[in-house]
């Protein structure tokens, strides 16, 4: 059924359709609409789940971990400072290989405090062993949550995952969303069942001390499992298409008018929409622009990127996060992936600065002169 709803609402519906059982939650702008909607479902009796009104995000992520360890599907959402406060527990969850799913309504980091959208929260945690999707539309946000559960819980993966949506710029947008039926979702998403959990009939120990003789192997295994995920992401994307009649590129990346493009924009999340518009307008003027939308930054889809950008002459990367004293992080990774290409960096939209068609056009011009810049 297609309805105009808020992206946050679409996500809440995805969580409901996934039959989530435990939802630890802590309020933070602009994530809050998601959990508010879930609280409504629960208090109205339309979702049979428990909400845990934790006293901090640190406890939200910890309670999420506890819920998973007790063998139920769980969910939480946060933003910015909340994600930052969870930091320590993120790698504890990934190190323990728990298939957590969390939505991040991306927002800038303090100081100064700023409640608007950029990607510094998501990028700040990119080494912590979580997979990370970025969704462009409300519908993709809903779909991504469903796919995220399936992916994270796949035996060969078992890695937690964050679904990123742009705070406000996507989270608070109403637009048409095709909401799948419960039956369809049930046919896609298996019942939750962990191999290892806290079971009085089969007592196991979780979170031991790993000495230097073992620790590094666990870390290599985490990395390998995440690399395995690339294949699984593609499979799930195909299966999703079969069942739900829609899909997203090859699952990892999505190409737009890229075949003959000379200059390719690379970006993440909701600004991809504006980028498409810019590509169209540039093409009207005879400029061969294209767009590579990255759906995942972890696993970093290096093969898909190389394939997609194989023929591109110039690449303009748009970063909405920054590594002070170094460079924009997407730019760095892209250069490292394509050591032989001209790549230019554009830092845009930090702290909710609007990203417009003009930004893409300007970047297009600068890129043709091999110039980088912060675009305001």
């Amino acid at each position: 059924m297609k309805r105009v709803i808020e992206t946050s609402h679409a996500i809440a519906l995805a969580v409901k359709l996934a039959r989530v059982k435990v939802i630890p939650m802590y309020p933070i702008t602009p994530q809050t609409h998601i959990v508010e909607r879930l609280a409504e479902f629960i208090n109205n009796g339309t979702l049979d789940a428990k909400m845990i009104h934790v006293e901090s995000e640190h406890s939200a992520i910890s309670a999420l971990q506890g819920a998973l360890l007790s063998n139920v599907r769980a969910f939480t959402a946060t933003s910015s400072q909340g994600l930052a406060l969870m930091f320590e527990i993120l790698q504890i969850i990934s190190g323990m290989r728990l298939p957590a799913v969390m939505v991040i309504a991306n927002r800038a980091l303090s100081a100064p405090i700023n409640i608007w959208n950029d990607h510094s929260d998501a990028f700040a945690v990119r080494d912590q062993g979580w997979m990370q999707i970025f969704a462009e539309t409300a519908e993709e946000a809903l779909d991504s949550v469903l796919m995220a559960y399936k992916l994270a819980e796949s035996k060969e993966v078992q890695i937690p995952i964050m679904v990123n949506i742009d705070g406000y710029s996507l989270s608070h947008v109403y637009e048409p969303v095709d909401i799948p039926s419960q039956t369809l979702v049930d046919s896609f998403l298996p019942k939750f069942k962990l191999e290892d959990y806290l079971d009085i009939n089969n007592p196991k120990t979780f979170g031991p001390i790993g000495f230097p003789d073992s620790y590094m192997y666990f870390k290599e295994a985490q990395h390998k499992a995440m690399k395995n995920a690339e294949k699984r992401i593609k499979e799930i994307n195909r299966e999703f298409k079969k069942k739900f009649k829609r899909s997203y590129g090859n699952g990892l990346v999505e190409e737009y008018k890229i075949e003959d493009a000379e200059t390719v924009f690379v970006c993440l999340g909701s600004i991809c929409g504006t980028a498409r518009e810019a590509v169209d307008q540039l093409r009207v003027k005879g400029k061969k622009a294209g767009l590579l939308k990255l759906r995942y930054i972890r696993p970093w889809p290096s093969k898909s990127i190389r394939k997609a950008l194989n023929k591109a002459e110039k690449i303009a990367v748009f970063d909405r996060a920054f590594s002070f004293g170094s460079e924009a992080p997407l730019y760095t990774e892209l250069k490292a992936t394509l050591q032989d290409k001209q790549i230019n960096s554009y830092v845009v939209g930090l702290g909710g600065r609007d990203v417009t068609i003009e930004h893409f056009k300007k970047a297009y011009r600068m890129c043709s002169k091999n110039k980088n810049g912060w675009l305001y």
Binding site: V22, E55, S59, Q65, N71, I89, I200, N202, T205, I209
Partner: protein, 301 residues
């Protein structure tokens, strides 16, 4: 002695010879029995029991971090509830004094407020032992630790010990008690009561520590006995807001009988010992003065 035979923690763990903390946990688990899940904070107990690929635990056990056991337990509590098996299981959150009095207290306080059901056990050895004997909020007045050293200018810890059981009781929970390995029948009775509570219950356990307190490993039990005999660690419980002593020495021994057994107090001057004596007496008298009257509002029943 009528104690259950079954053990839920195995030999071969790496605790110091004579560790009071492991002995406490041993008995808490025996009292709680087979159907128990433990969430354990970082600290000595966790480190010495789980050198991968070995574990000393015979019941399901998880360690996440240092500061979050109450929150992890909250998630487990609700997860078990969703699975319809909550009533079958005793859920214990076990943290050292560092975990409980300091870094994890916010998480515990939050879990209490939400009305979760689990038993929290603060194994108090009065310092951060796993990291090498640093001062915590539970370190007693004037004790020598590596971060409150008995120096030339400042003689050990200068702040009083945080009154955690009273603070927890002020949250309005239905059961709070102090326990000690020096009195096992008392300990078993209190663990059983704590497990019956429908909300967070809290046990404050006195756990002598050989290298931390600097005494011969054979004295673990004796020191615990002296703590109660001198009024340093009174055994009481607070049930539905009413505080009751469960053991009351006919007459308190001088606190020095306790202090002199331990290297961490050996730098004390006579005046400092007197100050501690007064301090202990005041605390003890306060407890006596509120005994049997409803001194804590109970919000959870």
């Amino acid at each position: 002695m009528g104690l259950p035979r079954e053990e839920y923690i195995a030999s071969g763990h790496r605790a110091c010879a004579g560790c009071g903390e492991i002995l406490t946990i041993r008995h808490v688990l025996k009292a709680s029995g087979k159907n128990t899940i433990v969430v354990n904070a970082t600290g000595c107990a966790e480190v010495v029991t789980t050198p991968y690929p070995q574990t000393a635990w015979k019941i399901p056990w998880v360690h996440s971090a240092f500061e979050n056991i109450a929150a992890v337990a909250s998630g487990i509590d609700k997860g078990l509830e969703c699975r319809g098996i909550r009533d079958k299981i005793n859920l214990l959150a076990i943290g050292g004094d560092g975990a409980s009095f300091d870094i994890g207290f916010g998480s515990l306080s939050g879990a209490i407020e939400r009305g979760h059901k689990f038993t929290y056990i603060a194994t108090d050895n009065e310092a951060y032992m796993n990291t090498g004997i640093q001062r915590s909020g539970a370190t007693p007045l004037f004790a020598n630790t590596t971060t409150s050293p008995a120096g030339k200018k400042i003689h050990g810890k200068i702040e009083p010990k945080k009154p955690l059981p009273l603070i927890v009781a002020a949250h309005g929970v239905s059961y709070v008690a102090t326990i000690s390995i020096a009195d096992l029948p008392d300990l078993y009775a209190k663990v059983k009561k704590a497990l019956k509570a429908e909300v967070v219950s809290f046990l404050h356990a006195f756990c002598p520590c050989v290298p931390g307190w600097k005494y011969p490993s054979s004295k673990t039990i004796e020191i615990a006995k002296k703590a109660t005999a001198t009024g340093v660690f009174p055994l009481y419980e607070i049930e539905n807001g009413i505080l009751k002593f469960t053991r009351k020495p006919a007459k308190l021994e001088p606190v020095n009988n306790y202090l002199k057994m331990q290297g961490r107090f050996k730098h004390l001057s006579q005046s400092e010992i007197r100050q501690i004596q007064n301090y202990v007496k005041e605390r003890y008298n306060f407890l006596l003065s509120v005994e049997n009257s409803k001194c804590f509002d109970t919000l959870f029943k």
